[in-house]
Amino acid sequence: MKILVLLKQTPDTESKIQISADGAKIETAALKYIINPYDEFAIEEALKIKEKAGSGEVVIGSFAGDSAKELIVKGLAMGCDRGLLISSEGLEGADSLTVAKVLAAAVKAESPDLVLVGKQAIDDDNMHVGIMVAELLKWPHVNVVTKLALNGKTATVEREVEGGQVEVYEVQLPAVFGAQKALNTPRYASLPGIMKAKKKPLDSKKPGDFGLDAAALKAGVKTVIRGFLPPPEKPAGKVFKGEDVAVMVDKVVKLLREEAKVI
């Protein structure tokens, strides 16, 4: 079985996000990038499937700038076999559908049995690209996957929805699945894994290598980010301390009813 994992680089969760002085963009110079946390569950699941089968190939790909290279190498150190970096030069910040068009073309060229992604990226929280890739390929998808069992070319997949409900699907491969946190526990790269990763192949491609025209893609963008605003400041709250607990609770209950009017 050949599995393609799609990775997105996202700013570290602890990063301070600074809006540029003109409000047009986010300052990226000081940002430290990590593998989107949900993508780590996708990598782990791919490696588990390969290990269980005893054979196969796990390719890890990203449509990004050069800074994603070290994150792909991290995936190789975890155990993926081959890396694929598709340069986003000229298409930086393009919308999710444009990204999906490039990735769908790459998937077509790689022709895997299965594509695994994180259920969403923690920067824009959009939950778009994996689903769009599936549609562009006319493949089925299941997103927010908490359980995945393969039986030949058929997968039984559980998806978490509201109120703890679970939708259970039977899916014919090839398909795209988006990993949710509960799916597994991602491994750490071992020292031998890190050494081996340096020797594993990492291909560099451009959208043109998949027959796409970057200028035409850019002209076809349907969704744009026009600028950024800081979130509204919250007025300082009232914090009670040092009094009898019952007295403090009484004060807060009163404020909830009379000032905040939420109960």
Binding site: T13, S96, V166, K222, G237, F240, M248, V253
Partner: protein, 324 residues
């Protein structure tokens, strides 16, 4: 502008926030003739009557046994049929599991624009201008569609007000659709959750516990407080990772983003990851023994105290107050 609103339903019951999406649709459409809703499922025709007065003259209904459960491909087909029947340029839904799963598929199919989980939305000519939180709510992005033949927008629950202005007949228009027989994806079943309360993402009131809960058993204290308020119980990542609470209860960056009127955080220190998921709550109450805990910086009201002392007192006092 022709606008279509997708009404999410499960087991014949529409989502409580569905009328918020419909009200947004009414504002964008400008008049009842331009606004339609679509309801998909089995035995769901009755839902149309509940939409009366919210600004839509037409409710497209896809009612068929094959649509009983959500399926991303067949539901995309059904919504696409309604988009075509109505000539919709804008499709509105709720930022909830079905809409967030099916809208990206439709945007890709129709080469459209897509704005997700917006907290503000307006029409600007043929385009949509919206605002959505990004980077865990650390910034708001101004997002827009351009040159799109059709645009999809999902609105965050509990932000927009549902308003019945008494316009729109909500007349049923049946769409006859049978799903493709060779579907490569089948929904085998939908397993019920243990939770009878509204889902965290839509809950108006939430009581949440952190690592300080100390055990799964201790969450009962929060359950009792939640019962009094008819609130949903949530948890921090620390509590989930310690095994005190299940993953579907997790609020925060790798859990759920919530937006209730009242969020009571008990024994939660307030990591960046947790605050990413709850900072837009309208009123935040924090109970923590550590006066330096970051949660107090976002709290509307804070109490520096042991939650095991404070929570039961909250339960007793609120019970007395709400029974009056």
């Amino acid at each position: 502008m022709k606008v279509l609103v997708f009404i999410e339903q499960r087991a014949g019951k529409s989502k409580s926030s569905a009328l918020e999406a419909l009200t947004v649709g009414a504002r964008l459409a400008g008049g009842p003739a331009d606004l339609a809703a679509v309801v998909i499922g089995k035995g769901v025709e009755g839902i149309a009557a509940q939409l009366k007065g919210y600004g839509a003259d037409t409710v497209y209904v896809v009612d068929h046994a094959a649509f009983e459960h959500y399926n991303p491909v067949s539901y995309a087909d059904a919504i696409e049929a309604a988009v075509k029947a109505h000539g919709a340029k804008v499709v509105v839904g709720l930022a909830a599991p079905m809409t967030r799963d099916v809208f990206p598929r439709l945007a890709a199919r129709l080469d459209g624009g897509i704005l997700t989980d917006v907290t503000a939305i307006e029409a600007a000519g043929a385009n949509l201008h919206g605002v959505k939180p990004m980077y865990a709510g650390k910034v708001l992005a101004k997002v827009e569609t351009q040159n799109a033949p059709v645009s999809f927008v999902s609105v965050r629950p509990n932000i927009f007000k549902a308003e019945n202005k008494g316009t729109g007949n909500a007349a049923v228009s049946k769409l006859e659709l049978t799903p493709a027989a060779d579907s490569r994806i089948k929904t085998l079943e939908v397993r019920k959750g243990a939770n009878e309360r509204p889902d965290l993402t839509e809950a108006p009131l939430i009581v949440s516990g952190g690592r300080a809960m100390g055990s799964a058993d201790n969450f009962k204290i929060l359950g009792e407080l939640a019962d009094v308020l008819h609130a949903t119980v949530g948890a921090s990542r620390a509590a989930v990772d310690s095994g005190y609470a299940s993953h579907d209860m997790q609020v925060g960056q790798t859990g759920k983003t919530v937006n209730p009127n009242l969020y009571i955080a008990c024994g939660i220190s307030g990591s960046i990851q947790h605050m990413a998921g709850m900072r837009t709550s309208k009123v935040i109450v924090a109970v923590n023994t550590d006066p330096e805990a970051p949660i107090f910086k976002v709290a509307t009201y804070g109490i520096v105290a042991d939650l095991f002392q404070a929570a039961p007192i909250f339960t007793t006092k609120l019970k007395a107050l709400l029974e009056k």
